[in-house]
């Protein structure tokens, strides 16, 4: 077995938390149950990984199998990576029968024809997600297995989720291979990024709970705006205001959990509006400013702003349109004329 492969497997096992190593190796399926039984998972990880490498040596593992193990690790710990969403465009409108073998062949063919030194690995999951791992090399160097790119694609959808490696120069090639393999003709990056891959999928596949009810004047049965106070001496002075806020919040955010985003960024290119007497800026230039909202769970925190009394309800549509517009990077330009909907650039 190649030394680089051995080292790669060792390092991959070291990344795994100790109590997960066994399940991941089982999912991998490269080592037999009997071999797994011989491993002692209670020793320090260094020793575990050495033993795993020895077993792989017995089975003559090559880079292809090692790459599969890497995909398994990254599939379970997908939230450690930053994912961007890309949208593909199609000119033809006829029905597609997506065939995975066809897709794989075209993808590999396109990549390999441009770059000979690549390692390409596929893995399909139950929810029709196709995971692709690509390790990049150069015409003169073997692929760097420690900086691969990951692509997640659901067949027959125009969306691709890419976690690019640091080597961004290979991105155009990757995008090209994707559109060729999936029969689209164009691809562009959407302004949507997050660590939570599932939340990104929820947003573009419209799986999050949008509210489509029209009547919020009556609360749901069994639901109270606030818990019943045991002490009747406490009277809520602004009960109706609280109910109004609650109702507006439900209309905007719906009832279910929100997709998990970590930030929203607004790049302002608007003019600075000051008191004309003060004359702060005599040049009529846009005041460049970047506003960034960060949170472990941005949309849930926005949802709780109004009920907590920290913001007025309804919230600004710039904040609430994030899941519907499927973006968390915005450019705001000057309002030109009376056109309230269009001042956010697409």
């Amino acid at each position: 077995m190649d030394e680089t492969v051995a080292e790669y497997i060792r390092r991959t096992v070291l990344k795994m938390p100790r109590d997960e190593i066994k399940t991941m190796l089982q999912k991998w399926g490269f080592l037999s149950e009997a071999q797994l039984q011989t491993l002692n998972f209670h020793q320090i990880k260094d020793n575990i990984s050495q033993e795993v490498v020895q077993l792989c040596e017995e089975n003559s593992a090559d880079i292809k199998q090692a790459a599969v193990l890497d995909i398994i690790y990254n599939h379970i710990y997908q939230n450690k990576r930053m994912w961007s969403v890309y949208q593909m465009k199609k000119s033809a409108e006829e029905l597609e029968y997506f065939d995975i073998t066809d897709f794989k062949k075209k993808f590999k063919g396109r990549l390999r024809s441009a770059l000979k030194n690549v390692t390409i690995t596929f893995r399909e999951y139950e929810d029709n997600a196709i995971w692709i791992r690509v390790a990049w090399g150069t015409p003169y160097k073997k692929p760097n297995q420690y900086k691969p790119s990951y692509v997640v694609y659901h067949s027959q959808t125009p969306y691709v989720f890419i976690s690019a490696s640091v080597l961004k120069s290979n991105l155009p090639l990757l995008c090209q291979a994707l559109i060729v393999a999936s029969n689209y003709h164009d691809i562009r990056e959407m302004e949507l990024r997050s660590h939570s891959l599932n939340s990104l999928k929820d947003i573009v596949f419209k799986r999050y709970s949008q509210n489509f009810q029209t009547d919020y004047s009556k609360p749901l049965q069994g639901e109270n705006v606030e818990p019943e106070n045991a002490d009747l001496r406490i009277v809520q002075e602004n009960r109706s205001e609280k109910e109004r806020i609650h109702r507006l919040n439900r209309e905007v955010f719906g009832d279910g959990p929100q997709p998990k985003l970590e930030f929203a960024q607004y790049r302002l290119e608007t003019m600075f509006k000051s008191d004309p007497k003060m004359d702060v800026l005599d040049k009529k230039e846009p005041f460049r400013c970047l506003v960034k909202f960060s949170s472990p769970h941005l949309l849930e925190s926005l949802k709780s702003l109004a009920p907590a009394g920290m913001a007025d309800a309804p919230l600004s549509p710039l904040l609430t349109c994030i899941p519907q517009k499927a973006r968390n990077y915005f450019k705001i330009r000057e309002k030109k004329g009376f056109n309230p909907e269009s001042f956010v650039s697409p």
Partner: protein, 271 residues
């Protein structure tokens, strides 16, 4: 004795006085409300007369000159609303329900397959200046934009119809694949391979007990669903592994016919 009796009488008298007062108050209020109702009715009749007179005056003025075929914009809007309501009532039976909200029209499409209700999908349409999709919860592999381009804004009815067929077809195919895996997992080798739209399904299977070596999964099936609105395949290819005995090979052709005409779980039950 006597004092207690007196007290009781006093209390009773007091009670009756209170009740009498309440009754008088109620009657007073009732009389007042009746008078108010009369007043409002008079007002309403007056306004009605006024309206009639105005309309007659208008007609009288332009009765001969105006073009009777040109309805007022208000009448057009009323007609639009009436026809939409009619549309909504008709479609309620096919799993549609709609609500007119201040922002537009909201539709819910409830899909069903073989008598059981499955997923619901939602659409919100803007009405002005013309029908346009504002929001939806339709999955990305259903060609929603394509259908909208083809049918909207002029033909809302066909748009909803065709969309419903696409959704019902998809949900039906997906349901069949899930049921097949649930009910016949020992007959299949692994899981059937498909795609998001469930319009291509491949799997290897065997019939336990009937074939000699059922470990082998001799049959290979490939189902192509050419019509996205239907839940039955348009092309079926069932082949048998070359080393299988002859009767199995013949059975393959029969299976092919079966898959083409019956839903998958039912087809398997009759194998």
């Amino acid at each position: 004795g006597v004092l207690a009796h007196l007290e009781m009488l006093e209390a009773r008298a007091h009670q009756e006085a209170v009740e009498q007062e309440e009754k008088e108050q109620r009657e007073e209020r009732l009389a007042f409300l009746k008078a108010r109702v009369q007043e409002l009715r008079l007002q309403r009749d007056e306004l009605r007369d006024k309206l009639d007179r105005q309309e007659k005056a208008q007609l009288g003025k332009e009765g001969i000159v105006s073009d009777p075929a040109l309805p007022s914009p208000r009448a057009v809007l009323e007609w639009k609303i009436r026809s939409l309501r009619g549309l909504l009532q008709v479609f309620q039976l096919t799993g549609f329900s709609g609500k007119l909200s201040r922002r537009g029209l909201r539709f819910s499409l409830r899909t069903s397959y073989e008598g059981s209700y499955l997923d619901s999908f939602h659409l919100e349409l803007l009405l002005r200046p013309e029908f346009r999709i504002r929001r939806h919860s339709v999955p990305a592999f259903i060609p929603l934009e394509q259908l909208a381009r083809k049918f909207l804004p002029s033909d809302l009815r066909s748009f909803l119809n065709v969309l419903s067929q696409h959704l019902n077809g998809f949900v039906g195919r997906r349901h069949q694949a899930e049921q097949l895996q649930e009910q016949f997992s020992e007959w299949l080798q692994g899981a059937p391979r498909g795609n998001s739209l469930c319009n291509l399904l491949t799997f290897r299977y065997s019939i336990p007990g009937k074939s000699q070596n059922s470990r082998n999964f001799p049959f290979r099936a490939r189902l192509l669903y050419g019509d996205p609105c239907r839940s039955l395949p348009t092309e079926v290819a069932v082949s048998c592994s070359p080393d299988a005995p002859a009767p199995l090979a013949e059975a393959a052709a029969a299976h092919s016919e079966l898959f083409r005409s019956l839903a998958l779980p039912r087809a398997f039950r009759s194998l």
